[in-house]
Symmetry: D2
Subunit: 265 residues, 4 copies
Amino acid sequence: MWLRTKCDLSFEISVPTPFILMLRLRSGLQQWVASEKYRLEPNVPMFEFTDTYGNLCQRLVAPPGHFSIYTSADVRTDDFVDEAPGAPFVEVEYLPDAVLSYLLPSRFCESDRFGQMATDITAGYLMGYDQVKAIETWVRDNISYLPGTSDVPVSAIEINTRGSGVCRDLAHLGIALCRSLSIPARLVVGYLHDLQPMDLHAWFEAYVGGRWYTFDPTQSHIRGGYVVIGYGRDAADVAINNQFGPPVYPIYQNIQVQRIEEKDI
Amino acid sequence: MWLRTKCDLSFEISVPTPFILMLRLRSGLQQWVASEKYRLEPNVPMFEFTDTYGNLCQRLVAPPGHFSIYTSADVRTDDFVDEAPGAPFVEVEYLPDAVLSYLLPSRFCESDRFGQMATDITAGYLMGYDQVKAIETWVRDNISYLPGTSDVPVSAIEINTRGSGVCRDLAHLGIALCRSLSIPARLVVGYLHDLQPMDLHAWFEAYVGGRWYTFDPTQSHIRGGYVVIGYGRDAADVAINNQFGPPVYPIYQNIQVQRIEEKDI
Amino acid sequence: MWLRTKCDLSFEISVPTPFILMLRLRSGLQQWVASEKYRLEPNVPMFEFTDTYGNLCQRLVAPPGHFSIYTSADVRTDDFVDEAPGAPFVEVEYLPDAVLSYLLPSRFCESDRFGQMATDITAGYLMGYDQVKAIETWVRDNISYLPGTSDVPVSAIEINTRGSGVCRDLAHLGIALCRSLSIPARLVVGYLHDLQPMDLHAWFEAYVGGRWYTFDPTQSHIRGGYVVIGYGRDAADVAINNQFGPPVYPIYQNIQVQRIEEKDI
Amino acid sequence: MWLRTKCDLSFEISVPTPFILMLRLRSGLQQWVASEKYRLEPNVPMFEFTDTYGNLCQRLVAPPGHFSIYTSADVRTDDFVDEAPGAPFVEVEYLPDAVLSYLLPSRFCESDRFGQMATDITAGYLMGYDQVKAIETWVRDNISYLPGTSDVPVSAIEINTRGSGVCRDLAHLGIALCRSLSIPARLVVGYLHDLQPMDLHAWFEAYVGGRWYTFDPTQSHIRGGYVVIGYGRDAADVAINNQFGPPVYPIYQNIQVQRIEEKDI
């Protein structure tokens, strides 16, 4: 399917504020970016680099006053997300070098503390994809998904105690549980068609059967329509907008994901 | 200034043909990509990766039949290209690690054979920027620029013998001469506003005074309006379209660079 | 000075256990590895890769039974550690791309929670090196250094509450405080000559004045004799031995750092 | 088998001369470095970095006067080199991203000029390993191996015309022929046990059947005893000692490869 995504952000800036943005999409395994717009107002200089996760990052200093970012993209994405019941666990010694860092605990995914809980949740399941599916189901059934309540990111331990969270929080818990079983897992930030209510979204991927697969504990079932913005170990790595100095929050944020026809691109 | 660049390519494909394309622009030091389009017909799956030079590369297999690529971008680029007469030579021991590979000879820039010639051309010039300027001037004055005659890429040695070449060839000779003096130099492929006749363009950059500077032996003087597509050691690394198997040439190629107003983006 | 370092580890393995080791030293800014030994018993196959922090990592699967690792190195290290009172804070927009990830919170350094505390500790100090020195001093004066009590790694928040910790813990707190002020900071694991009692050691580096500087809240003053094994965001990234599956602890560990003469290498 | 390798180089330096050395071995797929020595006289500061091919490179400035480098290593290497008759050609679209650059022509391997010749040599052979074996045999049978005649590196085209060369030259021709068939190929520099006469050695690897395999047109058959120092596209990338400024040649060079027992390490 073809989707038109849009993310507009406006800020009221008091002092010159360095930003690192991650708002340029990449074409990849299951998405092709046919058209993209990325505008700033005012149009300050901006530099781009690729981080260690392969994300395109944009650096700039926002000047005092009103500062806006307008991005949109026309993306072809798969109608169905690949699923692979039975896909086997990959022994650590056979994991590609580049995947190993996704086994380590990270700021919001304290996988070093979830070994017993993950073992309990996945008891009786085939090692690999089926374990991750059991984790996704457990999180869906046990942690309430409360969209729009996000403020400060909290960690998997805190979410597990609290029993509820935003999409990012549920993904963090899923990731921590996977890693504690030596299954590489990473956070994905992006868009999802028909998300209710519409917002930026976060889910996770796990590496089983020799590749990454998509999991999303906030949705009742996996369907097509995911558009990836960025990957990372957790939300610390994949901030759509990371700003330094006195905190600055968007005064306006407009996220849209709209189905389009190929002829409209 | 704001420029709208366009590169359309069409091929007649006889057998399934793997391509590596380098047609997605990056925002960087002197350019900001505000809008971009990238379409394929037919719309085959395409994967993207970043090569060791930081270029975005797209991989695909073109199916038999008519195959077209349409790309365009709206780019803000500097009105003037930075120049720095007197900028000093950087001793090899102070070059950043990542710049060292641009000292080595490469397929089309046999810098290991140009030491004496480069020494002669730059005799009496300050080490650094002024040496490169002398090289650029020498190439401009001694190698005839014959746009549109390109077929198979030839190397700096061959161009120096032949006495004429396309933009890429003149750049290769400039690069070989710089490297033979231990000045890092790299090929740049992209667009140039008001290029006569309009086509894809190639020029080179040299690393002096702690950064890369732009040089172009095909133009009578350096002016603004350059848009970078990719960087590499030479044309072997920066092929806009690299295809494998039986050779395939574009049956149609349309390159445009048009000045636009910011409001038209 | 020339130092001979030694790290021997023995394990009793019950099931085949994948390890990632980080026990091969790198030559670098302040150390030169003139000689190195690295032996395994039994001598299982081992593969080496470079992680995203530049560390050399060794992968292997330890077979059931007694498994030992013997490493030693003869290293020339600076007699004095560079200090730079007054070295300025580097604004985020001028940090090299590769340094940016050391600003982010990580598993054991929840810098997103230390803003107020860091501001209080560094009130009145020049921005940059002097702030980091104030943080190092504060940690030294307020967190008791209890060598040899290490078990499970705990995070900066937990250490701050607990008021005591091993070298790694004090470093984590220093790092979290630096990052909360937008000063890049990273964990260093290695050896220190004359450390009392002798053990593997951990300290931290902060990026001010355009380079990394060494800080160590466990020692009364910075002196020479540091030998770096690896760098990372925190202890999750720089585990000397990271093993997967059922936990395995060394049944024997022998760490030595001995001053030698150049002629003994 | 266990081998003790040794490479000692001495230079008479007239002006301070920057060097990039590639003399630190890596443990990897078929070799394990158990012990290593690396000494300089005089002991100037030296910095190490990893290049884009994964080689460890050492940077230094040699001071005027006598300058010596002493390196040795105890390495376990496979008794047999893996061979895989019938291993299939990997279609370009299935090659890993990181392997793609080994398809491109390079300074000494002008693969863009060898298409017809490679097709003729490999006519009737299975695509993949058997083609590379045919190329190796053709080079062995048609280009005379003249060890010790090396001076300035020459390219595959020149070697093919000349009909003779050193190990590096034969490897370059083999590489150029492979790449012209879209088979990735790279130069390897290292040691070979029982090489006659003993010297540093060069051979090549080709990527078929999903991995790199070893080929060596200078030897009558592939046997064990290879120790890798470095990899690259050709000799421009893998110079054991690369020096800048006025040329400097070793006044003394001592290469040894000696079989040892494990107990002697």
